[in-house]
Each structure stands twice: as C-alpha cells, then as structure tokens.
C-alpha cells in the first residue's frame, strides 16, 4: 500500500450517499490531482460514521478533522486549504449545539466521546470495498488463529465465555446457540446471517454491511467451523442495494484470496457464502419465517420447536445470527472473551448499536457499552432534544418494544432492564419523542406497522392487531370510551399470550407500555376528548379570536364544509359541530386569529 500523509475519509453509507457523497469523493479526487497532491493525500470511501444528522461527512486523517454537511462544491476548498495549506475550513466544522463553538476534531465531539465502537470498529475507518484494508486491521486473523489452534469445542467455549447475546432482539446467548447447532448431527448444516433488518428506524445492520462486510463474512466462517457447516447464507433485504453490492464485492475478494471457498488457509475447513434476498416482509426477521422465505416460500413462521438448530434451511440444522452479533465475533477472538466480558453489565456484555432518531439533535448510529444510561445517550451523545423542547419518551425496540420515560433516564440500558421496564432491546431503534408527540398516536403508528406486516397465519395477530389498531384510531378520532381502554388491555395480553411468533407476541408492547406510562393521555383522549400534544386532528378545537379577526373572509372561503360564518369586516365564528378540524382556516388566516386547542 502506498504511503499517504493524509487520508480523506468520506462516508459512503446510504444516508450520506443520498446527499451526494459519491460526487464529493470525485470532486476531492480531482482537486487533489489538480493541485498535484496525488502522492500525498488519499481519498477513501468508507462506511457510515454514524453521525447521519450532519451528513455527508468528510473526516481528515491524521488530524481527525470532522467536516459535516459537506457539499460537492466545498471540496475544492477543503483540498486547497486543508490538504495543501494545513488550514481547516472552519465553516464546515461541527458546531456544538450548546456552546455554538466549532469543534475541530472528532475526538472532542460529544457524539463520539461516550461511544465504544466494537461492532462498528471498522465503519468509517476502512474502505469496505478493499479487503486489504480489512486484513491490515487484523482481518481474517481470528478465523486463521482458530483454524490453526482451536477445536470447534474450544472456539465455542470462548464464545460462551464472552457472554455475547444475540443483537437481533431476543438476546439469546450466541455461544449456547452454536453449541446446540454443533451437537445436531447432519451431513450438511447452514450458517445464516439475518440481514433482514425491518424495524422502521433501525439501520445498524445495513451500516455494518455497508461499512465492514468482511467482519460478517469472517464471523460466519468462524461459526461454520464451530458448528460444522460449510455453507453460509446471508438473507438480506432487497431494499439495501448498496449493502448488497458491498457484500458481493467482499465475497468475491475473499474468494480470490482463498479466505472463502475450499481449504481455507491451507486447512481442511471449507466454507462459502451465498446471498439470498428478502422482498419486504418484516416477519421474515423471525428465524423460521426467514428460512421459509429462503426456501422460496411465503415467509410464514412455524411453531418452534423444532428450532432451526435442529431442522432449519432445507430441513438441515441451521444457525441464524444477526449482522450486528456477527460483527462482534472476530474481535472477540482477537482480544479474548475476558476483554469482551469486561465491558457491559452483569448479564449483558459488550456494546449495543442504537439508531438514535426522532426529536434529537444528533441523529445517527451510535455504539455504546451496555449499562450506559438513557440520559447519557440522549443528552451527551444525542446532544439533547431538538429545539430545546421537553423530553417525553424514548421508544426502543421498534414495533416490538415500548416507551421509556423520564423516570427511566438513569436506568442502565441492557437486555434485562429494558424488558423489566416494559420495553425491549429489539434491534436497537431508539426514537426520541418530545412534548409534541401524542403517545396514543405513537402506539397507533406502530400498530399500523404491525397490521401491515402481520403474515396472517395466526388469528390473534391477524385479527387482533387489526382490532387494536381500530380501537386506537377510534380513540384518536375522539370516539373512544373507557371501556375501550379496558378492552385494549385485555386484547393486548391475549395477543401476547397466544400469538404464534415473536411478531405477534410483542406487537401489543407499544400499546401496553404507553397505557402504563401515559394512561393520563389516553384518559384525556376518551374523557375530555383532548389530545395534550395537539397531534390528533379530530381532537383539535378551532375557534376564532374575535379581537384578532378582521373579517377578511379568507377563512370562510377556505373552509371546505362551510362551518365559518360572519359578516364582512366583522369577527367570524366557527360552527363546532360542522367543523371537520381540517385546519384550512388556520393555514389561511393572516392575522393569527384562529385559535387551536
């Protein structure tokens, strides 16, 4: 590899690409060439830096300068000033939302200070399309060492000792999963990587695949060695074209180097990986559904047992791990189980990647040690609530999870604490909500998702979630009763208790958790017919403030149902019974005379 004095790392993740980071790469390269700096500076397209809020990101190495929201036209300046003359382009530096100060290097950004990147260790650091960079970072050394020095049993033992638990949602100990699969005898076994990330608002798996595909491939090979499988399959969403491309590149590079294929590193162990595409079904995140989908069927789950470890893909023992879980694995073997087990809490070891989004300043992908508090995540890493509004809740675990409130701000985050708080880790979506968010609507949003994504196989999920959604709609429309709240609760419990798969067993969680923490808000909807957050259209009350109304009649003309009457140049009135709460008058009024309650 050539020696460059300066590396310009440009985020090539989907988020930054959407804002033309590919053009930025081109422009940087051409400016460097123009100024004759091709020998000195190298432009590298990397995976996601996680700081998606301020993308596209360009990070300059070695001084760790962190340029945010870079536009293609900024590139020439970056090269001329920074690369050539060593002067930072201040206007592109990250501005701390509290102090309004520009922060020069990423080491001093609150967003990164509390993070600990294990699964994301290579994301935003290496060029995912260049296997050499991965190898330079000790890539494939873990599988190499294992093949040279360990029996599968020993390797599984390390996995067990590390305490790694599945990051896809359930939190099942990975080592034990491997052990079960390894003990089932069969002529063929399979390692499956679950990359069917479907939680709306979580995108860590995609980021890992885009930023560090080799880690996943290496981990699959390790798992293959441990359980005795020679075939790996990655089930990936077809909606992730970039991740698919990076994986394809990675697989072919690994094959060329002989790191996938027959007799890896001269040992008897052979392993190869193939891609299988999902086609837009959230339920396929469930292991059995995923396997049916890979077999070319409708992605309907089946009753467990038999577990995939016993009877999985094509009826053979199959081990399914999710992307983030796998990304942790090579480094565990390099640094040791003890190292990994020293991070995190008693029962949740290591780190967890969260997709931080919603009403927060620093939207992005973060990796934090288990046991960090919500407060640290929201206020230190996330930079606080957007627009200085009041924090209301954090939704974790997506459609399977629940809401955490102010009283949970100092609870250490791990699998068990989240479960105890009525939510769950899930795949790691973390959506922050402020005072403007109506919790009934939030529950309704998730149920809408579940209704759309239910496979329809079992009755409680197929019909039950539909009914839950209908009741929530009714409440949001101001037609709910207190009886409805009771029925919501009972229905939720029964759906959890009787559904066939994880989707239905967790789908009422958003309802139950908002009912528990925000019962008052529900009550206000059904008793006083008020939506405190002002989000539910039907619960808004529009009136005209007589002292502000000039009688211009603009609202009368805008009203689609003729609910507004009044003499010209006299204050108008809204007929509450006729009003459909569309808000057209509010938008039209130039004198802020329309009052919304």
């Amino acid at each position: 590899m050539a020696q460059y004095k300066m590396h310009l790392l440009v985020c090539g993740g989907t988020g930054c690409r959407a804002s033309q980071s590919d053009v930025i790469v081109k422009n940087l390269e051409s400016s460097i060439k123009e100024l004759g700096l091709s020998e000195e500076a190298q432009v590298v397209t990397t995976g996601c830096f996680g700081f998606c809020e301020k993308g596209p990101i360009v990070k300059v190495i070695p001084d760790n300068t962190f340029y945010t929201q870079v536009k293609p036209e900024d590139c020439e300046e970056i090269v001329r000033e920074h690369v050539l003359k060593g002067r930072r382009v201040y206007r592109l530096l990250y501005e701390d939302p509290e102090t309004q100060k520009h922060i020069e290097d990423s080491k001093h950004m609150g967003f990164y200070q509390k993070q600990l990147r294990i699964a994301l260790r290579n994301c935003g650091f290496i060029d995912p399309e260049n296997i050499d960079e991965y190898i330079a970072r000790d890539g494939y050394a873990a599988i190499g060492n294992i093949l040279a020095e360990m029996s599968p049993e020993q390797a599984i033992d390390i996995m067990k000792k590390s305490g790694l638990r599945g990051r896809g949602g359930g939190g099942f100990p990975t080592g034990i999963k491997w052990e079960i699969a390894s003990k089932n005898k069969a002529d063929q076994k399979y390692v499956v990587c679950n990359a069917d990330e479907g939680d709306p608002g979580a995108f860590m798996d995609r980021s890992i695949l885009e930023g560090d595909p080799h880690s996943v491939l290496e981990a699959m090979a390790i798992c293959g060695y441990c359980i005795g499988a020679s075939k790996g399959l990655i089930y990936i969403r077809a909606e992730y074209p970039l991740a698919i491309k990076r994986l394809q590149v990675a697989i072919s590079q690994a094959r060329e180097y002989g790191l996938l294929g027959d007799n890896i590193l001269g040992t008897p162990f052979s392993f190869d990986v193939e891609l299988k595409y999902g086609a837009g079904a959230f339920v396929c995140g469930e292991e059995t559904a995923l396997i049916h989908s890979m077999e070319g069927h409708r992605g309907e789950p089946t009753v467990k047992p038999p577990f995939p470890a016993e009877k999985g893909y094509l009826g053979k023992p199959t081990n399914v791990n999710n992307v983030e879980t796998l990304a942790n694995i090579p480094v565990i073997y390099l640094k040791g189980a003890e190292w990994f087990a020293s991070i995190g809490t008693e029962k949740s070891k290591g780190t967890k990647v969260f997709a931080l989004a919603g009403k927060i300043n620093n939207v992005g992908l973060i990796e934090v040690p288990m046991g960090i508090t919500l407060r640290e995540v929201i206020y230190e890493i996330g930079g606080g609530i957007k627009g200085g509004k009041k924090f209301k809740a954090v939704q974790t675990g997506g459609p399977s999870g629940g809401c955490l409130t102010e009283k949970h701000l100092d609870t250490p985050i791990d699998f068990d604490n989240l479960l105890a708080a009525g939510s769950m880790m899930g795949s790691g979506g973390m959506i922050v909500m402020d005072e403007d968010d109506c919790m009934v609507s939030v529950a309704k949003f998730y149920l809408e998702f579940t209704v759309e994504e239910s496979c329809g196989k079992c009755a409680p999920c197929r019909v039950g979630n539909k009914r839950l959604h209908e009741i929530l709609e009714k409440i949001c429309a101001g037609k709910g009763t207190e009886d409805d709240l009771e029925y919501l609760k009972n229905l939720s419990y029964v759906i959890k208790d009787t559904s066939l798969c994880g989707l239905g067993q967790t789908s009422p969680n958003p309802v139950l958790s908002t009912l528990e923490h925000f019962y008052d808000e529900y009550l206000a909807h059904v008793r006083e017919r008020i939506c405190i957050a002002g989000r539910c259209k039907a619960l808004k009350l529009y009136t005209i403030l007589p002292d502000k109304c000039t009688g211009c009649t603009a609202c009368t003309r805008a009203c689609p149902v003729g609910a507004i009457t009044g003499e010209k140049r006299q204050p108008h009135v809204i007929d509450v019974d006729k009003c459909i709460r569309c808000g057209a008058c509010y938008d039209k009024c130039k004198f802020t005379a329309i009052h919304v309650q």
């Binding site: 993740g13 989907t14 988020g15 959407a18 804002s19 700081f51 998606c52 809020e53 301020k54 993308g55 479907g198 939680d199 709306p200 608002g201 979580a202 995108f203 995609r206 980021s207 077809a238 909606e239 992730y240 299988k276 595409y277 999902g278 086609a279 837009g280 079904a281 959230f282 989908s293 890979m294 077999e295 070319g296 069927h297 409708r298 992605g299 309907e300 094509l314 997709a355 989004a357 919603g358 009403k359 939207v363 992005g364 939704q395 997506g398 979506g429 959506i431 909500m433 968010d437 939030v442 949003f445 998702f449 759309e452 496979c455």
Partner: protein
C-alpha cells in the same frame, strides 16, 4: 386486471432467468426479483410463465408475490415516489408529506396517476434518518422535506 400480454420474447427472457437458477423452485424469490427487475412488475402472464418453467402451481407463485411488499403486479409511474415511513421520518412529519402528495396527485398510496407519470408508495426506513422526513423520487433522495415544497418538487418533473 392487467392488459399485459406475454410475447415469445418475454417467454425467452423468463426461461433464461429461470434457467440461470437451475429452474429451482427454492429460488422462486430470487427469480421474481430478477424478473421484476426486467419487466418492472409481475403481471399475471409472467407469473404463469414462471410457474410453468419451475413446474410449480401458479397459485403458489401468486401466493408468494402477494406476500412480499416488494413485488408488485401493477406498473409503477414513470417517476415512482416513495415516502419513507420509518419511525424517524414519522415523528418528523412524514404523514403530512404523504397527505400532501395524495392531495396533489389525487391518488391513494399504492396508486398511479392517470397519465402514468407518478406513482406513490410508502416504504419502511431507507436509513437516511438524519435527513428525515425523506422522499424518494426514482433514484433521487429529497431530505428534510416540508409539505409546502411538494408542489415545486413535483413541478420539476416535466414528462
């Protein structure tokens, strides 16, 4: 349902796709992906042809096509609009954007305008949460979209 009539050349294409997967019914989903990539959608005749090649029932093919939201039996508009409905976009107002698009285009979600210019769909999290709410038109990504920009955005598409 659809006016698509299969021609011999289409049959040839489908045959090649199926053969590239060894006519293995286990690869049905990959075959559907590839076929939809070729034709833009999966009308009835095409599903029949796939079933014939793989020696499975059309009902089975249709069952799979209707299970996965990625597969469609109606052609998209020349400019396919997709609004991200991930949670991040939702809490930052994606619903309003959808309402506005429905209003402007006079179509429902999943529909196509009469002139075939635009189609409107919702999808789950494109992963550009930093840009929420996000609208995709074809390959182009519009970030931090506000309802009042919709009219201008649509107007920028001429044909």
């Amino acid at each position: 349902m659809s006016s698509f009539k299969i021609q011999d050349c289409h049959k040839q294409t489908i045959k090649q796709i199926c053969e590239s997967f060894n006519n293995n019914p286990g690869e049905l989903i990959s075959i559907l992906h590839k076929t939809q990539g070729e034709f833009g959608y999966l009308p009835e005749d095409i599903q029949r042809e796939i079933a014939k090649n793989l020696n499975i029932s059309v009902a089975k093919v249709y069952g799979v096509v209707t299970f996965y939201s990625f597969f469609t039996m109606t052609p998209k508009g020349r400019h396919a609009i997709s609004v991200c409905m991930g949670t991040a976009c939702y809490v930052r107002g994606a619903e309003k954007i959808v309402d506005e698009l429905k209003e402007q285009l006079k179509i429902k979600v999943g529909g196509v305008t009469d002139d075939g210019k635009f189609s409107l769909d919702c999808l789950r999290c494109v992963g550009a949460c930093g840009l929420a709410p996000v609208v995709l038109i074809g390959e182009k990504v519009y970030g931090r979209v506000e309802a009042n920009q919709i009219k201008d955005i649509l107007a920028s598409y001429e044909d």
